[in-house]
């Protein structure tokens, strides 16, 4: 993964009192956008973004070293020496040790000017040494009130040496403004208010900014403990103090780390670091920076939740302090919460997405099963794997090619020996409804005669080193340079490379995997580019980083180079919840583990877990033993088949969730507390999660267990949970022990929901387009249920011109109705309803009839008494038109 937030010097700061402001901090990738341009005509873009780490060079060095030292090479682990600790970062060390008696910062009241939604004022630092105030530095402060009860704080030098770099592409344009009024100016405090009744209280000296909610409770404080530092073109530090309320509070997110979803106190150890790094054999339970970074942090208690989005692409370190009574996040970037907001639930994430980028509708195949390996060595190998899935009747939608398909790591080329007939190879796949995904890395081999290199050299497209010459680093191809995507011309050039005619062998069924975009530089500091490299625009002396290589809007991410160990399977769950909460729902881990070899039980559990994670891809390292599903014993094969089939049966449900995600931005995979914000026991649960608000997943992540603990939330509201394997209803009552076998993982459907399924699982998802639906209706205690379904062609952008169906299902004892939510949209689907399963029905109807298009058809039903399951047999209703089924008792 690879979000780059590297420039140090912007001070945006978005604070949302009422609801979490999780800006989708992902940045639109230049090359992605270009691909989009090129492919708009036919389909959504799926760019799957990636991370690939093994570098032979380092690996060799490492094992040699071990041999020299111990006489034998033990198990390799992350080489911490390659990566910085706080102590080694001047920036981090300086600020962590900073303990001011009094803030040097003060507001110049005379300069305050409120216009529209913006307060601007001058802030200066004061030297108190000789009773006389000496102004040291002047800063410009901007406080803007934004729609949805969000505030933004920006602070920069009044007259900087040069403009600091500002990340621009994370947001969907400038956020919408709200009104801002100055209410009072007395006792050294300014009080302002937005149109929604939220207040901001600014203490003049020392500067402190408090954000107050409707009830008068302080939600977030900026600089309470006087630790704000904006180093004039050097370093800046923010401190947001806490307020000292109440109960159980949890801080979550700031991906990407291997730690728990909820954040731990860091003062005695390393702070959480945000920086994009390609980490070889990364560690578990670590605050080390890996791959990508999303600087958004939430704080949640049963009364309120708040969030801070650090709109700043600089390398960032975060310190967290958890007190037993109240939680304080004290840090370089430091946030706190408390107060009495009612809920964190569904509505809370709604707001931020109004301003930030929303994801597109991913193509349906991208949510299906992917088979990858570094590497399928040639066309025959790829074909054999493709046929293996058919032979063993396991569905698969895409096969992936890693770097070895290229001609000596020159991207946009094919190995002339091993991949001689790419077009034919692709059509073999598409003949069965499958796709190909090929890797493209953003480093360019420095080889005379390689067209990309020659173009980039001739047109001066490469990132420069501090001397102003083309920067050269070492990556897969050997000596490489890096196109400077800050230059729109370079971006345009790179876009052109993806065109089918410029990359022969590709077509609409070939998709792109972007990797190594931290950027990974094997011989660079911390395996990335030196910070003093120069980019096209921001004329900073310092490197502002390759600000973007991917974004949640267009790409899926995976948790990087994990290993075939139970610990990594366990870590994948909190890592993906964390990413989802920060705006990146399309997340998964390498099924089976990238390094090492998973034995049958681990492999089975990994497939079962992966089937319920958004990005479902098996991948492995080139040196490991092959592990396509059929290389296991027959029993394991059938268990893997079962797991993958479960995913395919739910594909339309997943597709619907991602459609809704594109509309409202809510995470697809959710922590329990998002839906049950008042249940404190859920705050620290990060080995189970919800899909939308409908399914609860508790993957089995432990070796050899025969039972697991599952937390069923919603006792207070009388929530029912239906085991999806038996439709047996369990009333929510917190923790339960559930017996599991190797074929079982606990998955529950929430009472009151309807989930659409397709039970006819075929070789690939595209072949299931016309297949009928089974609707699973799980009744709540009022005997009602509700659900949605999204249908389109699964492939093109036609949905943007209303060629889709977004439908709702409503069950009341008297009827179940299917209606179009957007009446302007339609899609001529050939799907129909083959079965309706109603679980939890106490009083079965005597008769049922379908009403559709003025026609009435009597229907058959079967009651499974004892389980209270009623099955409506073959309603045959078309999904292209609304319908209703009426029950008589």
């Amino acid at each position: 993964m690879s979000l780059t937030f590297r420039s140090r010097h912007t001070s945006f700061f978005e604070i949302d009192i009422d609801s979490i402001y999780a800006s989708n901090s992902i940045i639109k990738s230049p090359q992605n956008s270009n691909v989009e341009l090129k492919r708009t005509f036919s389909h959504h873009l799926v760019i799957i973004i990636a991370k690939e780490t093994i570098h032979t060079i380092r690996m060799k060095a490492l094992s040699l070293l071990l041999i020299a030292a111990f006489g034998l090479s033990g198990s390799l682990a992350v080489d911490r020496n390659n990566f910085k600790t706080c102590e080694q970062s001047g920036f981090c060390k300086r600020l962590r040790g900073f303990k001011p008696e009094k803030s040097q910062y003060a507001l110049n009241v005379d300069s305050v000017f409120v216009h529209g939604n913006v307060l601007s004022a001058e802030v200066f630092t004061v030297d108190h040494d000789d009773d006389k105030k000496n102004i040291l530095w002047r800063y410009a402060l901007r406080l803007s009130a934004l729609a949805d009860g969000t505030f933004r704080v920006e602070m920069d030098e009044a007259e900087p040496l040069y403009p600091r770099y500002r990340t621009q592409i994370a947001l969907e344009g400038e956020p919408k403004g709200d009104g801002l009024k100055l209410i009072s100016n007395e006792n050294g405090k300014l009080t302002l208010s937005n149109t929604q009744g939220h207040k901001v209280v600014i203490t003049i000296e020392p500067l402190k900014i408090e954000f107050v909610d409707h009830t008068g409770e302080v939600a977030v404080v900026l600089n309470e403990n006087s630790q704000l530092v904006v180093e004039p073109l050097r370093v800046r530090r923010e401190k947001i103090g806490d307020d000292d309320e109440q109960g159980n509070i949890v801080e979550v997110s700031i991906p990407e780390h291997t730690d728990n979803f909820y954040l731990k106190t860091t003062t005695s150890g390393e702070p959480y670091r945000l920086y994009n790094l390609d980490v070889f054999e990364y560690e578990l339970d670590s605050p080390m920076a890996i791959y990508g970074a999303v600087p958004v942090l939430y704080s949640h208690s049963s009364k309120r939740s708040s969030g801070v989005f650090w709109h700043n692409s600089a390398e960032t370190w975060v310190d967290v302090v958890n007190f037993s009574e109240s939680t304080v996040v004290s840090s370089l970037v430091n946030f706190m919460t408390g107060g009495q907001k009612q809920r964190v639930d569904a509505s809370l994430l709604l707001t931020h997405n109004q301003q930030s980028k929303r994801s597109i509708c991913f193509q349906k195949f991208s949510l299906a099963y992917h088979q990858s390996r570094w590497n399928y060595m040639d066309e025959v190998d790829l074909r054999t794997v493709d046929e293996g899935f058919d032979e063993h009747d396991i569905p698969a939608d895409a096969l992936w090619l890693d770097i070895e398909y290229t001609d000596k790591k020159k991207y946009f080329t094919w190995d002339a020996e091993k991949f001689r007939h790419p077009t034919e190879m692709v059509s073999n796949l598409t003949a069965k409804g499958r796709k190909l995904v090929v890797i493209i890395d953003p480093h360019i081999k420095r080889e005379a005669g390689y067209f990309v290199h020659e173009d980039c050299t001739a047109k001066d497209y490469y990132v420069k080193n501090k001397e102003g010459r083309d920067y050269e680093g070492w990556c897969w191809p050997g000596s490489s340079s890096y196109p400077d995507f800050f230059n729109p011309e370079v971006t345009q050039y790179y876009i052109e490379r993806y065109k089918f005619e410029n990359f022969p062998g590709t077509s609409k069924d070939v998709h792109i995997w972007n990797d190594m975009n931290e950027p990974s530089v094997f011989n660079g500091p911390e395996i990335t580019m030196p910070k003093d490299c120069r980019h096209w625009k921001p004329r900073n002396k310092e490197d502002s980083g390759l600000a973007s290589y991917w974004e949640h809007s267009y790409a899926a991410v995976w948790t990087g180079d994990n290993a075939a160990e139970w610990g990594f399977l366990q870590a994948s769950v909190p890592m993906c919840i964390s990413l989802a909460t920060a705006g990146i729902s399309f997340c998964g881990s390498d099924v089976g583990g990238f390094f090492k070899y998973p034995e049958a039980e681990l492999m089975t559990r990994w497939y079962q877990a992966g089937a319920y994670q958004a990005f479902f891809r098996a991948h492995s390292h080139i040196e490991t033993k092959r592990r396509e599903p059929w290389l296991y014993d027959a029993t394991t094969i059938s268990r893997i088949r079962d797991a993958v089939r479960r995913r395919y049966a739910l594909l339309d449900f997943w597709y619907t969730l991602f459609y809704e995600h594109s509309i409202d931005g809510l995470p697809v995979t959710r922590p329990l507390f998002q839906e049950f914000p008042k249940e404190e026991a859920t705050f620290t649960i990060d080995n189970q999660y919800l899909l939308g608000d409908k399914l609860l997943i508790r993957p089995v992540l432990e070796e050899g267990v025969t039972s697991v603990k599952v937390y069923l939330p919603g006792k207070e509201s009388g929530t029912l949970w239906y085991d999806v394997d038996s439709y047996h209803a369990v009333a929510a009552n917190g923790w339960i022990n559930l017996d599991v076998t190797i074929t079982k993982i606990p998955v529950y459907q929430r009472g009151g929901t309807i989930v659409p399924r397709k039970e006819r699982v075929r070789r690939a998802s595209s072949l299931m387009a016309n297949d009928p639906y089974t609707l699973v209706v799980a009744l709540d205690s009022n005997n009602t249920a509700h659900g949605t379904v999204y249908i389109d062609d699964g492939e093109t952008f036609d949905y943007k011109s209303n060629k889709y169906i977004y439908g709702s299902f409503d069950y009341q004892p008297a009827a179940i109705a299917y209606k179009f939510i957007n009446k302007d949209a339609n899609y001529p689907t050939r799907s129909w309803v083959e079965r309706i399963v109603i679980a939890g029905i106490k009083n079965a109807p005597k008769a049922a009839k379908l009403v559709q298009g003025g026609k009435q058809t009597p229907l058959q039903m079967t009651l499974h008494r004892g389980n209270d399951v009623l099955v409506v047999r073959k309603p045959g209703a078309s999904m292209a038109k609304p319908w209703e089924i009426l029950f008589t008792y």
Binding site: D381, D393, A431, E623, R763, L767, A848, T862, L863
Partner: protein, 524 residues
């Protein structure tokens, strides 16, 4: 699976509440997707019972595009059941069973196109064409096997001949071994006799030597004792025959660290944990420690410079080490001629030989030496024969196929070149790979076993335990064998990391009788 999974778990009573039957079945001899052999199980005049017996449904439910049976047997012609099977007749070619999920999915799976009946015209019937091709191929293969079979028969003959020759040779070797053992025994007896005589003659010399040594030792001991008791008397100031700590405290020589005082540590050093020592203890423990100090005191010698002191010692140890190492290596390797262990005392004799013996003794020594040499030779002969026997036995035990058709291929090496490497397969021996750019030969496996599937064991060879891969398993090779008119390698690939796949053709695999069997099997 999916839907059926939960329904299967239901033990509860299932009641059909309302039944509305649509009868839309056309009159067909058997439902779509049913093979002839199963046709009788689907009778339109009766209710249909699922094959697993779990439920009975109206016949109109068969192939009505809704899955009623857990085992999928009610939907042989639709995609409704996930675990169903669709049968295509494929007239003109081979019939086929495909999973129900491939029915009406837009992809032509059956050559007669019957699996895509929902979209008529999508799939044309190409069975005739394919059948023709398949039959031509089968004919070609049959011809190949037929001509190859002649060569195979020759191979079998040669193989059997080779084996019986080997058996004969083995018999001969057993005989040779018996003879060689007799000779060895004779030589052993002779050697013992001559060595006895030799020992007797040498005993005289040894006795004289021993006496001389004892005399010298006794002399030295006496000298020591005298000296010790003299010193004891000197230290024992009250002459009570016991040396106490007080008595030695005043003697400089006990001040080991020369700090001008005999402290507790030094007393402990010389007396052990006793307060005093008598003459006897003094002699055995204290004196040996005191003497060098005394000599030092008297200037009789100076302590040696440390390096000089240590170095020879180390050298000596290393020397010993080196000798031992060499012996160990020799001992491990049977093929290296080694000196038998009972000759060890010969080394003792060695230095004595520099001494002059009388003629008679010298003659006895020479005779014994000769006898020892002859025994060594005789033993070596026996070992060589035994090793040959083992090789023959191993070869005879090797499985060269049902009729020894692979026997003559043992040891035959075949090569295959691709862009980067030259691969070499030496049958029943090993597989190697060598880069064309030079470098070491890499072992891809040693002969392991026949590994074909049941009933076709001799179609696959497995060579295992090759060179270990970095971070991975040992390399291994799988050799797939097919009929061909000459023995050669047609491809070498590495489909799995460190697992090589080699395609070998050889007439030994041509068998026309086998082929007809397989062909008939296919028709079923």
């Amino acid at each position: 699976m999916i839907y059926s999974a939960w329904i299967r778990q239901l033990q509860s009573l299932t009641i059909v509440i309302f039944t509305f039957i649509i009868s839309a079945q056309t009159d067909v001899p058997r439902p779509r997707g049913v093979s002839l052999s199963k046709a009788s199980l689907y009778s339109p005049t009766k209710d249909f019972t699922c094959f697993d017996g779990t439920s009975t449904i109206p016949f109109s439910y068969v192939n009505d595009d809704y899955c009623d049976c857990f085992d999928g047997s009610d939907e042989p012609g639709t995609a409704a059941c996930l675990n169903g099977v669709f049968y295509c007749t494929n007239a003109g070619h081979r019939p086929q069973n495909i999973p129900s999920s491939r029915v009406n999915d837009g992809i032509c799976d059956c050559c007669d196109g019957t699996d895509e009946y929902a979209t008529p015209g999508r799939c044309s019937n190409i069975c005739e064409e394919l059948g023709k091709e398949a039959r031509a191929k089968a004919q070609q293969l049959a011809d190949l096997h037929k001509s190859g079979n002649h060569i195979r028969l020759e191979l079998i003959e040669k193989g059997n001949k080779k084996r019986s020759e080997m058996a004969l040779q083995l018999l001969q070797l057993e005989k040779d071994k018996a003879e060689a053992e007799i000779i060895k025994n004779e030589k052993e007896v002779l050697k013992s006799e001559l060595e006895a005589k030799e020992n007797e003659a040498l005993q005289v010399y040894r006795d004289a030597e021993e006496k001389d040594r004892q005399r010298k030792a006794e002399l030295e001991r006496q000298q020591q004792e005298t000296e010790a008791s003299e010193q004891f008397a000197r230290f024992d100031s009250n002459s009570d025959g016991v040396l106490t700590t007080d008595e030695i405290k005043v003697v400089n020589v006990f001040d080991k660290n020369k700090d001008g005082e005999v402290d507790q540590e030094e007393i402990l050093h010389f007396f052990g944990d006793k307060d005093s020592v008598n003459m006897e203890d003094f002699m055995s423990t204290t004196w040996p420690m005191v003497k060098p100090l005394l000599m030092l005191d008297q200037g009789m010698f100076r302590p040696a410079v440390k390096e000089e002191d240590d170095e020879p010692e180390v050298d000596e140890e290393e020397e010993t080490q080196r000798v031992e190492d060499t012996e160990d290596v020799g001992g491990d390797d049977e093929n290296i001629e080694e000196i038998p262990h009972d000759d060890a005392d010969e080394q003792d004799i060695e230095p004595e030989q520099s001494r002059a013996y009388d003629d008679e003794t010298q003659k006895l020594i020479d005779e014994a030496t000769e006898a020892r040499r002859q025994l060594t030779d005789a033993e070596r002969t026996v070992r060589e024969i035994e090793s040959n026997i083992r090789t023959f036995q191993q070869n005879l035990e090797k499985d060269y196929g049902l009729q020894q058709e692979y026997a003559t291929l043992d040891g035959q090496c075949l090569e295959y070149e691709d862009k980067e490497y030259i691969y070499k397969l030496c049958l029943f021996q090993r597989v190697t790979q060598k880069s064309k750019n030079g470098g070491m030969e890499v072992g891809l496996g040693e002969w392991g076993e026949w590994a074909g599937r049941e009933g076709n064991k001799y179609s696959v060879m497995k060579y295992t335990n090759g060179m270990a891969c970095w971070n991975g398993p040992s390399r291994m090779s799988i050799v797939n064998i097919n009929c061909g008119l000459e023995s050669k390698l047609t491809s070498v690939t590495e489909p799995f990391r460190c697992e090589y796949k080699i395609e070998l053709t050889t007439p030994a695999a041509c068998d026309d009788s086998n082929l007809t069997q397989e062909a008939t099997h296919d028709e079923l």
